[in-house]
Structures are given as structure tokens and as C-alpha cells.
């Protein structure tokens, strides 16, 4: 019996297998096969050497939909909408995010205007019917869709979040007229008000729906043939998992699958090692995701964009920075040294990869500084060429007054670090949290290389590096609970409503969640339902999502919870009256999770070599350890370099490192 977690990345498909009893973990990596990704998945599973018929839980992180959106390679979507509103998506919110540039253009809509068809129907804001759905018009819309060979349709009507009848009726009719096509409605994808954002999310869902659903169907078939007999589960953007069937219906809810897996793993690790407050820092080749985890709670939001288009599904609240190991350092016409967002990605890659890259990257700077091994291989795959890094970095020297090369390399790292620091400040200080109350959990190939420097800037005293930092997101996949989110938009005056009324509104959402989890085979005892309310002061427009624990028995207590959150988030709170605008339920199906194994004692405990590396303005002789050969009992003082398969950890001077529970590296700032 085993569990398998998969994460399909841009370059590698990572797999991890776990024996839920022994906790033993097996890791494997295989090249991603972009044209036929299930092949890469099967290859990675094969490398695990686990019998698929003995696997009873397989969880998959999905980036197929994300990439289709980013590369604009989705389906040809048609939209059916309320008469008079065909331009909702193109008009959008009319705002311009890049200022002082006359060349800035509005992000193009995914759907050309001629693919938007109107039908007479209209609801009022309270869901009452102002004019019924015109069936004759719907019929001629269907004719047009058939004539145009439309295969993907998003049905988007006004106010459907409060009354979905017209959308449901139209979708049912269109499914019947266009058999086998992908049809979704805005009320099922995102039953929330603000039509532009809802329609946008729905169209994104339709845009990737056909691709994701056919991929999942094929994958299920292939896995079945190989002997896997259970549900294929998919990591969702909110850090839970969903069945493949549900993910195919709502693929838009999986676009942050990868980062969500990492955060789920972080929560699990935090629980096991007893550190509940974490800031996760996941730095890969092209970008970095940071996330603040307080009290082992995954923070969720629904106000995000993908490729400039709103995606308002529930998702982990991450802050993404366009800077990773492959980010290119350059000089703007300031002249100011900048890092990213352009990336050398995996092809051609940093200059030191010797695959034709000539631009200096963060990885090149690390190599120059001696923090990466000029003799070694990155991730056991790529050999590094220090002279190529040197040539690339030299190009920047003249513009910066011929600054010494080593200092230039140090500057590149410092600027990359400054960007991470700024991103972490936004999610911590910017929301009323003090980063010093958190440990920095670093993973991703490049995370552990820079974590201590970031912690230094933020005055954070602890950095954690989990086991297998390069495969951490895949590990998260098998550590996630099943989670479905439900929402209802409903305006209520908090002081005029009652707990009974609120209960009445929550119950159908909870019923829906419970039914769906039971259908997925989750035993009733493992189902947890969490309520939250979208609340705001009367007169405000943006609501805060306030978690409502089961023991809250009065609306006064609910209001008090809102005041407290407002104070934390925005630095002030009055006792003014509030209103409720939405009710949310998270239905969670708890699954057993493997405990991460403790390390067995090792024999060597000796550095493998001594290398010259640059820290704090000077070159040091630095001990280099293999991670698996670190002494388990005593802490070591920096500077240190710790190498392993998928990553390198840097312990700078003034920091110490010891091996903690389950083999986690614990870096501590030594007091001066």
C-alpha cells in the first residue's frame, strides 16, 4: 500500500511515494513531456518502482491549465450572455495598471466580440425575474453555435449568483443541442457578485476546460491500465484536493495547484515539528512564491489575476515575484542594476549552464560567489561553467563604474533578495504581522540558497529547510485534505439578522459540501465544515472574510470578530454597524497523512570539501557538507554550504545550523 504525489513542473515532473505506515519516502524526477504530459507522469511513477495496483491514493498537481492560459493556448470559447451586455468582458473595469505610458494597451479579452451571443433575459439584484429567458432566442443562438462549430460555451447572465435558474436552463438546452461540447455556467463556477470578475473566471474555466478534462480522462485511463484502481485526485488552488471529475468541471480552481501543494506540505511539516507560524519561500527558476501561514492555517483569498485576467476562485494567498534562479540581471537607463522579471528559464538557462545563454543570472552570480560548486552538477544534471558566468557578468561592469566583479555578483544577489524581502513585507508587515514572529521555510531549487539573507533583512531569527526541498510541492500533494468551497452572496444587516437566519443560509451550503464528500467516499466522521462570513462596515465596499468558529452563538460575537480582523489588517476599527455580504463554507474531507520519517544516524559527519566563497565583503574558506552527512547532534556555525540533490543551503557567517526533527535543517541567527 502506498500513496503517490505528482507535481508536473515546467522542466521536471516530480514524484514522491510514501508508505503511510512506515512514513518512508521515495523521490523521483523525470523530464516533463509538454506535448503529452501523462507520459512524463507515468515515467516518473515508473522510476519510483512502486506497484500501481498497491497504490490507494494518487494525487496530482496540475499546471496544464495554468500554462494554457499563460501561453494563450486554450479553447475557442463562445459566450452566451444577457442582452445588452455583450461587451462586459471587453469593457472590463476600464482601468490601466501601467501608468505614464501612452503605449499601454488594455489586456485583450480571451473571447473575440463576434463569439459573444446575446439572449433576452433579466434578473434583478434580488434574483427576481424581470424578463424570462427567451427560448426562441436561445434556440437561434444554438443554431448559430452549431453553424459555427462551437465546442466550448460559457453561459454568463447578470445576477445569476443569486438565482441560477436562467443559466441552468440555458446550459441544459445548449448541452442537449451541442452534445459532447464543454458548457459551463457562471453560477456554478463562481456564484459571487461583480459580473466582470465572475464572467472572466467562467471564461477562463471554459478556456482550459476541454484540455484539462481530456487530459484527466486519458490519464485516468492510462493509470487504470497500469493497475491503479482508485480516484485520481488533483491538488486545487486552495491547498486541498478534488476528484479528477470535479477538477475537469472546474479546472480554473486548480491553477495554483503547484504552489498550493508546497504550502500544504509546509503546514504539515509545521505541525509535525511544532512550529505553527511560517512564512513559506518557494524559489524556482523563473519565479518565487511567498505565503504567510499563521497557526498552521492556509491563508485563502479570491482576489487574484492570472495573465492580467481576474480569477476569483478561492486560492491560497501567495505573493509571486518574477525573480528566480534564472532571472536576468540588467542595467536600465538609470543606470540602475535590476534583476528580472526576464528569465533565461530552462532554455537556454543561465550562462553557466553552457547551453547558449549569455545573460548573467542569479545562478551565475551565486556561482561567481562560490556558493554553487563550479566542479559539481546542479540537480545532478547540469554541469556549471564559471567562466561563462564571468563573461556574462562582465557585460554589466562598465555601466556601474567598473565595480569589482565579485561585488557586482554580490549586488545581483542583494537586489534579488531585496525583491523577496519586499514581497514578504507585503504579506506580513503589510497585513499587520511581524515577520519576526515567523520562521522562514525555504524550498524550491533556489530557496535555501538565499533564505538566510532574506531572514537577515527581515530580522527573522529562524530559517527552516525541509527534507527534499526540490520536491516539496509534490510531497504536499499527498498531504492535502479534500476540500471544496461553496459561497452564497447575500446582503444582510448584521444587527437586524439573527443567528437562526444565518444558520438557515449556511445549511444548504454545508449540505452540498457534505453530500459531495460522501459521494467521494469520505467517511462522515472525517468531514469538517468551516464557516466564514464576508463582512464590512455599512458604507464600505470591500468585505473581509471572517472565520466563524462553531462556538459563536450571537451576531454580536460575529461583529466583534470582524472588528478584530479589521484592526489587524488596517490598523483601525470603530464599533460602527456592519453588514454581511456573503457566506462561505469550506467542506473538508480529512485524510490520513503520513508522518515524515526521522533520520537514522549517519557515520561520516564530515565536510566533503572546503571551498572559497564570498560573504560579507570578503572571501572565506567554507566547509561544504553533503546534507545526508551532517552531524545529527551538534550545531555547526556558518559559513557553511550544504549540498543535496535538488538544492543547496547557505549558512552565512553569524548563523548556525543544526539538523532538527524529521531531518529539517534549522538555521538560527547567532546573537552578537
Amino acid at each position: 500500500m502506498a500513496w503517490i504525489g505528482i507535481d508536473v513542473g515546467g522542466t521536471f515532473t516530480d514524484a514522491v511515494a510514501s508508505d503511510p505506515h512506515s512514513g518512508q519516502l521515495i523521490w523521483a524526477k523525470s523530464a516533463t513531456t509538454p506535448d503529452h504530459p501523462q507520459q512524463g507522469v507515468l515515467n516518473a511513477i515508473a522510476k519510483l518502482e512502486v506497484e500501481l495496483s498497491a497504490v490507494n491514493r494518487l494525487v496530482h498537481g496540475l499546471t496544464l491549465g495554468t500554462n494554457a492560459i499563460l501561453e494563450r493556448k486554450g479553447a475557442d470559447v463562445w459566450v452566451v450572455t444577457t442582452k445588452g451586455f455583450r461587451d462586459t468582458l471587453e469593457i472590463a473595469r476600464t482601468n490601466r495598471t501601467i501608468l505614464y505610458d501612452i503605449n499601454t494597451l488594455k489586456p485583450p479579452s480571451l473571447v473575440p466580440r463576434q463569439h459573444i451571443l446575446e439572449v433576452s433575459e433579466r434578473l434583478a439584484y434580488d434574483g427576481s425575474v424581470l424578463s424570462p429567458l427567451d427560448e426562441a432566442e436561445l434556440d437561434s443562438v444554438a443554431d448559430k453555435l452549431i453553424a459555427a462549430k462551437a465546442r466550448t460555451v460559457a453561459v454568463c447572465f447578470l445576477h445569476s449568483y443569486v438565482n441560477s435558474a436562467h443559466e441552468t436552463q440555458a446550459a441544459a438546452y445548449l448541452r442537449q443541442r451541442l452534445p459532447g461540447s464543454y458548457v459551463c455556467t457562471s453560477s456554478e463556477v463562481l456564484p459571487e457578485y461583480r459580473e466582470y470578475e465572475r464572467f472572466s473566471t467562467t471564461v477562463l474555466n471554459a478556456y482550459i476546460g476541454p484540455k484539462v478534462s481530456s487530459y484527466l480522462a486519458e490519464l485516468k485511463g492510462d493509470l487504470g491500465k497500469s493497475g491503479y484502481a482508485h480516484e485520481v485526485l488533483i491538488t486545487t488552488s486552495s491547498g486541498g484536493v478534488a476528484t479528477a471529475e470535479r477538477a475537469a468541471r472546474f479546472p480554473i480552481s486548480t491553477v495554483l495547484s503547484g504552489p498550493a501543494g508546497g504550502v500544504a506540505a509546509a503546514v504539515h511539516l509545521g505541525r509535525q515539528i511544532g512550529i505553527p507560524n511560517l512564512i513559506t519561500y518557494d524559489m524556482g527558476g523563473t519565479s518565487t512564491d511567498v505565503c504567510l501561514v499563521e497557526n498552521l492555517e492556509v491563508p485563502l483569498t479570491s482576489e487574484q489575476f492570472i495573465s492580467e485576467l481576474p480569477n476569483r476562485t478561492s486560492q491560497i494567498e501567495i505573493n509571486t515575484v518574477g525573480a528566480g534562479g534564472g532571472s536576468i540581471a540588467w542595467i536600465d537607463d538609470g543606470p540602475i542594476l535590476r534583476v528580472g522579471p526576464q528569465s533565461a528559464s530552462s532554455q537556454p538557462g543561465p550562462a553557466c549552464y553552457g547551453r547558449g545563454g549569455v545573460e548573467p543570472t542569479v545562478t551565475d552570480a551565486n556561482l561567481m560567489l562560490g556558493r554553487l560548486d563550479a566542479e559539481g552538477r546542479l540537480a545532478g544534471e547540469v554541469s556549471l561553467d564559471r567562466s561563462a558566468s564571468e563573461r556574462a557578468l562582465k557585460k554589466l561592469q562598465p555601466a556601474l563604474g567598473d565595480i569589482e566583479l565579485i561585488r557586482l555578483a554580490d549586488g545581483v544577489i542583494k537586489i534579488a533578495v531585496a525583491r523577496m524581502v519586499s514581497a514578504i513585507k507585503e504579506i506580513s508587515i503589510g497585513r499587520g504581522y511581524d515577520p519576526r514572529d515567523f520562521a522562514l521555510l525555504a524550498y524550491g531549487g533556489a530557496g535555501p540558497l538565499h533564505a538566510a539573507f532574506i531572514a537577515e533583512e527581515l530580522d527573522m531569527h529562524t530559517v527552516l529547510v525541509p527534507p527534499g526541498p526540490g520536491n516539496f510541492s509534490a510531497l504536499g500533494a499527498i498531504l492535502s485534505d479534500i476540500r471544496y468551497d461553496y459561497v452564497r452572496t447575500q446582503l444582510l444587516d448584521t444587527r437586524k439578522t439573527s443567528v437562526e437566519e444565518i444558520d438557515r443560509l449556511f445549511e444548504p451550503l454545508e449540505g452540498q459540501g457534505k453530500d459531495e464528500l460522501l459521494r467521494d467516499g469520505v467517511p462522515g466522521k472525517d468531514i469538517v465544515l468551516q464557516r466564514s462570513l464576508g463582512m464590512r462596515y455599512i458604507g464600505q465596499s470591500w468585505e473581509l472574510d471572517v472565520a466563524i468558529p462553531a462556538d459563536v452563538k450571537s451576531v454580536e460575537e460575529m461583529e466583534a470578530l470582524f472588528y478584530r480582523l479589521h484592526e489587524i489588517r488596517y490598523g483601525h476599527a470603530t464599533k460602527d454597524p456592519t453588514e454581511i455580504v456573503s457566506l462561505r463554507v469550506a467542506a473538508i474531507g480529512r485524510v490520513n497523512k503520513p508522518e515524515l520519517p526521522e533520520l537514522a544516524a549517519n557515520s561520516t559527519s564530515k565536510p566533503k570539501s572546503v571551498r572559497k566563497a564570498f560573504f560579507d565583503g570578503e572571501v572565506h574558506d567554507v566547509d561544504v557538507y553533503e546534507r545526508e552527512h551532517l552531524p545529527l547532534t551538534k550545531p555547526l556555525s556558518g559559513p557553511l554550504i550544504i549540498e543535496e540533490g535538488g538544492s543547496v543551503t547557505i549558512v552565512p557567517p553569524g548563523w548556525s545550523c543544526r539538523v532538527g526533527k524529521v531531518g529539517t535543517l534549522v538555521l538560527k541567527k547567532e546573537s552578537a
Binding site: G84, F85, R86, D87, E90, I91, A92, R93, T94, N95, R96, T97, I98, L99, Y100, D101, I102, N103, T104, L105, K106, R113, Q114, A124, Y125, L130, L158, H159, Y161, Y193, R194, E195, Y196, E197, D333, G334, I336, L337, L400, K414, I415, A418, S422, E426, I429, G430, L491, Y537, G539, Q540, S541, W542, L544, H566, R569, Y570, G571, H572, T574, D576
Partner: protein, 694 residues
């Protein structure tokens, strides 16, 4: 001198921007005015005590660029009398403000007993008193009708609220509870900024932080100076109009710009612009200058950090008590319209220097529509503002974006979503669509405006609008490029469409249940000759219904076969025909004053009766001339029985706008204006009587 390494410089200057970002997030989430939280009509910024802008983020240029004037006025008025715990408030259009609805809160931050920096929140309050809900409106004749004027005052003194000032302010506005919420939201954001600034000072020390600020501003300055230095020295001129109605009679007011490039500096002189008038077409030099700044920055130096260093190479001048330097008691509600006209004249002048980097004219108006009343359903008075975005001008490489706020308006969301609107105010949105054919035709098409219809579903409401470009359309750039559609605000009363008396301008129209407001925003001007546009692009525009098949034929010269494909032969013939029908007339130099008007001034072109008949134009028709320069010259026709011949007399300024000399020929084109109920100044009965008496 303190030396700072380049890395610290980056960390500190990024740090200030991060502080502004944090302020913005706080204001958005906690403000009570829908203009702030839904439309993002607010700005934050950090200012040095000398008024220089230290940092901003995505803050709307219309607010943040004129803001240094507000800081300077406050510093002048209070001098040494500024203490920890003081908080300033101001909105006075004559003393540091923009229009009265934009209320500015300044929060002095002290370090070691010394004033170090002033965080600012400037936000659009839904109502500041005055004669109608929403405060500013198209028919105001003096500033007292536009709301409560607040010169820089201390709202808080040494940490204690000035209750008298607070009570006075709140008592003079329609939604005092909402206003108080806005004040708290702004103070909350400034407190956060204060704690972050102090922390930064603690970490790096004041000398290092101050040096970083100096270096950061200096390098922005240097960058812009380098760009300006590359331009040929010289004077570049342009003129355009704002729309003023004198007792219902259309009396356009003139805005003139002389842009001088001198080494690495730019001098923008509004000399010759109209004296101020008793209508909302006036603003301060800070606001008008902001329009020039944005025009210059967005074309010459797009991208890059925006801070006070960029203002140093620019100089602004304007005649006292004019439309660009408003004094008591003229109304100042139209700061946005005047600023936008300043952007237009900046583009017009710049097109003579950097024709490839400019666009066709932008939609040219912010189009503010104010509605208000008392909602029975929600038991409270309400005020609602929307500013439906129009089109952007075509660019050399691409078409202008449709329904997309112009570059001077920043990250403003100009409309509410239907679902929020219908929940908040007693209107139902009947439709919201792009306006077919509203984009100016050109080799690159101007963006489209939008059309929105809002129907009242309660008993009563009041409607005001203060727009420009409702009579005189945004201009196209380059030979043959067309103007775009004007703004149109109209009503549906008792089921019947009804134009409003003065296009674009209404104060407090009383709507009844079932009546509707129809708002149509302007398009953007075209760029380049539409006859050179790729016919395939025209076909795609027709397929998407951005352009009607008739316009495709008449303006682009593109014809289609029955299956919708381009008819290449017919297109070729049609394009030849259109080109042949263009009218070119010779210019003759004539330095007599071509301007007429009552309180306004508009250029008149005199034509002989025969020529007018041949050109099918009559008295008071709006025309444009196009010469060698990309932007056109607008004028109104006066048929002169004494005049002979086919030439057009033009003064030196006019010839310089067009880039033509005596004897050279220019393209002549008539432009459509909406009906003017009471006519136009110079052409009314009153003018005829006056002329007869003279």
C-alpha cells in the same frame, strides 16, 4: 557627505514605494466613498517638506502630480507652526487643491523633533456640499455652488481633533457619516506610513535615508533631461478649446500652448489662453501643468520611476485669472477636463517633434456623471459618480484601446459593475456596450467609447454631468486621420429620448421613476491615413462590429463581397475616389485677429459665399484644417459676402500649428457638431443686432 552604496539606494527607494503601496491597500479596503473603493479615484504619496514628491506607486497622475502645490501652500501657510500630531486637510482649488471633491489629508511625520516627511492621501469624496448631490456639475457659475472650500487647515492639532473644524465640515456635506469614514480611512493609511518611515530611519539613519532620496530624485531628473536634450531646440505651438455655454449659447474658450525646448529643459507657456469664465472650465496652473507633464512623460519617457525629480526640468507659465490659473470666484469643478485639454495641446505640440511617439487625441474628457437622492429602499441619502471611460488615440504601431481610461487618469476603474450598482443605488442598467463607429478612423484606429443606459427604479433622483468634447470632437493625428465621436449625455423621459440643453453639461436634472440617463463616452482620434489601413484589419473591425460596413466604405474606402471578404478591386477604386474628393485650399498669410466670442474666444475662418457653397458649409460650422504637421487646426466658418477667391486667411500662430507657409495648401474638412439650441456666440441674433448697430 554621506555616501550610499547602490544597493542601499535600491532598498531604500523601493522601501518608500512599498510604503505607498501599503497606504493604498489600506485606503481601498477601508474607504467609504464608492469613488474611492470601487473606482480607485484616490492617491497616496510621500512628500518632502519642500513639496517634492519622494515616492508614489500606481497613484493617479491627476491627483499626485499637482499635489506638490498643496504641500507647498500648507508649508507656506503654517511655516514653523507644524507639530507632531498635527494633521492637515485641504481641498481649495485656489490654494493647493484640484477640484473641491478631491480632499487632501497631509500627515507630517517628525524624526528627532524635525519634520521629515509628509504622507498624503488625496481622495475623491462622493459629496462635498454645494448645490447638487455629488457637488460638481456642468452648469455651475461660481465655486460656492461646487461645495465647501477648505484652504489648508489643521484638522488635528498635536494629536487632538479640532472638533469645531470637523463639525463644520461634516455639517456642510450630504453624507456626513460617509465623509467621517473617509477621514478615518486616510488617517489610518498615514499612521501606517508613519510607523514604516520611522522604522526605516531607525535602521539606516536619517543621513543615509535623506541621501537616498536625493540620489533617487536626481537620477529621475537626469533621465528626463537626457531625453529632452535630444530634441531639437525651438518653439512648438498648438491650440484647442474647452466647451463653455454662456446662458445656453455655445461660447468655446481657447487653450493655447507654446512649448519651448531649450537645451535639457521644457517650458510650457499657456500664453494667449482664455481669461477665466463663469463656467466649469477653469483650473489651477498646477493641474494644467500636470496635463502637460503627463503628455511629456507618457510619450518622451514612458516607464521609469515617477518622483519629484522629473518636475525639475519642466517649467509652467500661464496668464493670471485664466482658465489655467483660476481665481475667485470662478468655478473649478472641471479640473479633469482642463487637464485633459492640456494633454491634448501637449500631444499637438509634441507631434511636431516626435510624431512617431504620440497618439491620436485621447477621448479628452473624464465625463463625470453625478447622481444622487434619497433611497427609500436603503433609508439613506446617496451620491453616485461614474466616469465612463472613452477611447484612446490610435498609435503608430497599433489601434487605441477602447473604453480604457486615458493615460492621465491612471488606474481608475471608471464604472461600477452592474451587480454592485444595482444593489447600491436605485438604478437599473439597461445596457452597457461599446459604441460602433465611435473610434476615429486612421491607419491605426482610435479606440471606441462606450454607451451605458441607466434607468431610475425609485421615485426621484437628480442628475448632473460635467463633460467636455461633447461638441468639439477629439482630433486625429496625421494627414487624413479622422476625429472620433464626441461625448453624448442624453435622457429618456417618459419613454422618449431627449437631448440635454447644453451638450455635456447639466446641473441637477430631476429624474422620475422610469426615466433613464444615456451616457456615451467619446472615442479616441485616429492615427495616420485611413486609406492606408490594411483592408484585412478593416474587415476584422467590421466582423466584430467595431466599424459599420458604411463607415468602412466611406472613410476607409474598403468594400466587401457578399461572402464578407474584402473586394480588392472595388476597394482600390473607392480609395481613389475618396482621395480625389479631398479638398485642399491654399493659405494666405493674414495677421488680423481671427478670434471671436463673448467670454470665450474661438478662431473664425472667413469664406466667400461661392466657396462656402462649393464646400457645403455655412456660418458657425465647425471645420478643421490639416497641413504638414500631424495635428489639425480647428475653426468655425463665417461666410463673408465681401470676400472673394478660394484662399484661407491664417495668422502666424495658425500657420505654425499647421506647419505651412503663405501659399501652401491644407486639407479642409467639415466636422459634425450636435445641435446647439441657443446657437453659438458670434452667430446669434444678439450678435447680429450688435453688428448692425456698429
Amino acid at each position: 557627505m554621506t555616501s550610499v552604496d547602490p544597493i542601499t539606494l535600491e532598498v531604500v527607494s523601493e522601501g518608500f514605494i512599498a510604503i505607498v503601496r501599503e497606504m493604498r491597500a489600506t485606503v481601498t479596503r477601508t474607504a467609504y466613498s464608492s469613488a474611492v473603493y470601487e473606482l480607485d479615484d484616490f492617491s497616496c504619496g510621500l512628500f518632502a517638506p519642500n513639496g517634492e514628491l519622494v515616492a508614489q506607486f500606481n497613484d493617479i497622475p491627476s491627483h499626485v502630480i499637482p499635489a506638490p502645490w498643496g504641500v507647498r501652500c500648507t508649508m507656506e501657510d503654517f511655516g514653523d507652526d507644524i507639530h507632531p500630531g498635527d494633521i492637515f486637510l485641504l481641498n481649495d482649488s485656489y490654494r493647493g487643491g484640484t477640484h473641491l471633491n478631491d480632499v487632501t489629508l497631509l500627515y507630517p511625520v517628525f524624526h528627532q523633533g524635525k519634520l521629515f516627511m509628509l504622507p498624503m492621501v488625496r481622495s475623491h469624496w462622493g459629496d462635498v456640499g454645494g448645490m447638487e448631490p455629488g457637488s460638481y456639475s456642468g452648469e455651475a457659475t461660481n465655486i460656492y455652488q461646487e461645495g465647501l472650500r477648505i484652504p489648508p487647515i489643521k484638522l488635528y492639532e498635536r494629536g487632538k481633533v479640532n472638533t469645531a473644524a470637523m463639525a463644520l465640515i461634516l455639517s456642510n456635506m450630504r453624507q456626513p457619516d460617509v465623509r467621517l469614514g473617509d477621514i478615518h480611512s486616510a488617517i489610518g493609511a498615514c499612521r501606517i506610513a508613519e510607523s514604516r518611515i520611522l522604522k526605516m530611519l531607525e535602521k539606516y539613519g536619517a543621513p543615509v535615508v535623506s541621501e537616498c532620496i536625493r540620489l533617487d530624485l536626481d537620477r529621475s531628473e537626469r533621465r528626463l533631461r537626457e531625453r529632452i536634450a535630444k530634441l531639437p531646440d525651438g518653439e512648438y505651438v498648438y491650440e484647442d478649446y474647452l466647451e463653455y455655454f454662456d446662458d445656453g449659447v455655445f461660447d468655446p474658450v481657447l487653450m493655447r500652448l507654446k512649448l519651448t525646448v531649450k537645451g535639457d529643459e521644457l517650458i510650457a507657456d499657456f500664453e494667449g489662453s482664455n481669461p477665466q469664465v463663469p463656467g466649469p472650465v477653469n483650473t489651477s496652473l498646477a493641474v494644467a501643468g500636470a496635463g502637460i507633464f503627463v503628455g511629456v512623460k507618457a510619450t518622451l519617457d514612458a516607464g521609469g520611476t515617477v518622483n519629484g525629480g522629473l518636475f525639475r526640468p519642466l517649467h509652467f507659465k500661464g496668464p493670471e485669472a485664466s482658465i489655467v490659473d483660476v481665481r475667485r470666484d470662478a468655478p473649478a469643478g472641471a479640473h479633469a477636463e482642463v487637464r485633459k485639454r492640456a494633454v491634448s495641446v501637449a500631444l499637438g505640440a509634441l507631434s511636431q517633434i516626435i510624431p512617431d511617439l504620440v497618439s491620436g487625441d485621447l477621448c479628452g474628457t473624464s465625463f463625470p456623471n453625478n447622481m444622487g437622492g434619497f433611497s427609500k429602499r436603503r433609508h439613506r441619502s446617496w451620491a453616485y459618480l461614474e466616469v465612463p471611460a472613452g477611447g484612446n488615440g490610435g498609435l503608430k504601431a497599433t489601434d487605441g484601446s477602447s473604453a480604457f481610461v486615458n493615460v492621465d487618469h491612471g488606474n481608475v476603474r471608471s464604472i461600477l459593475t452592474v451587480e454592485v450598482l444595482e444593489q447600491d443605488i436605485p438604478f437599473r442598467v439597461k445596457s452597457c456596450e461599446l459604441r460602433t463607429d465611435s473610434g476615429g478612423e486612421g491607419a491605426s484606429r482610435g479606440g471606441l467609447g462606450m454607451r451605458r443606459e441607466l434607468q431610475l427604479v425609485e421615485d426621484e433622483a437628480r442628475y448632473s454631468v460635467l463633460s467636455d468634447r461633447a461638441v468639439i470632437p477629439p482630433f486625429g493625428m496625421g494627414m487624413g486621420a479622422h476625429a472620433s465621436a464626441q461625448v453624448r449625455a442624453s435622457l429618456v423621459v417618459n419613454g422618449e429620448p431627449r437631448a440635454i440643453r447644453n451638450p455635456g453639461k447639466v446641473t441637477g436634472y430631476g429624474l422620475r421613476h422610469g426615466d433613464a440617463v444615456v451616457m456615451e463616452s467619446a472615442g479616441g482620434g485616429g492615427y495616420g491615413d485611413p486609406l492606408l489601413r490594411d483592408p484585412e484589419k478593416v474587415r476584422r473591425d467590421v466582423d466584430a462590429d467595431y466599424v459599420s460596413i458604411e463607415r468602412a466604405r466611406d472613410r476607409y474606402g474598403v468594400c466587401f463581397k457578399d461572402d464578407g471578404a474584402v473586394d480588392v478591386k472595388a476597394t482600390e477604386a473607392q480609395r481613389k475616389k475618396i482621395a480625389a474628393e479631398r479638398v485642399f485650399l491654399a493659405i494666405e498669410a493674414d495677421e488680423s485677429d481671427p478670434f471671436e466670442g463673448w467670454k470665450g474666444r474661438h478662431r473664425v475662418v472667413r469664406l466667400s459665399e461661392a466657396l462656402a457653397a462649393r464646400l457645403k458649409v455655412a456660418n458657425a460650422d465647425l471645420i478643421e484644417l490639416k497641413g504638414k504637421n500631424p495635428a489639425p487646426l480647428r475653426a468655425w466658418v463665417r461666410v463673408d459676402p465681401k470676400r472673394k477667391g478660394e484662399k484661407i486667411s491664417l495668422d502666424d500662430f495658425g500657420r505654425r500649428v499647421l506647419g505651412v507657409d503663405d501659399g501652401e495648401r491644407v486639407l479642409f474638412r467639415k466636422l459634425e457638431m450636435p445641435p446647439l439650441r441657443a446657437g453659438m456666440s458670434g452667430f446669434t441674433e444678439r450678435d447680429a443686432i450688435a453688428a448692425a448697430q456698429a
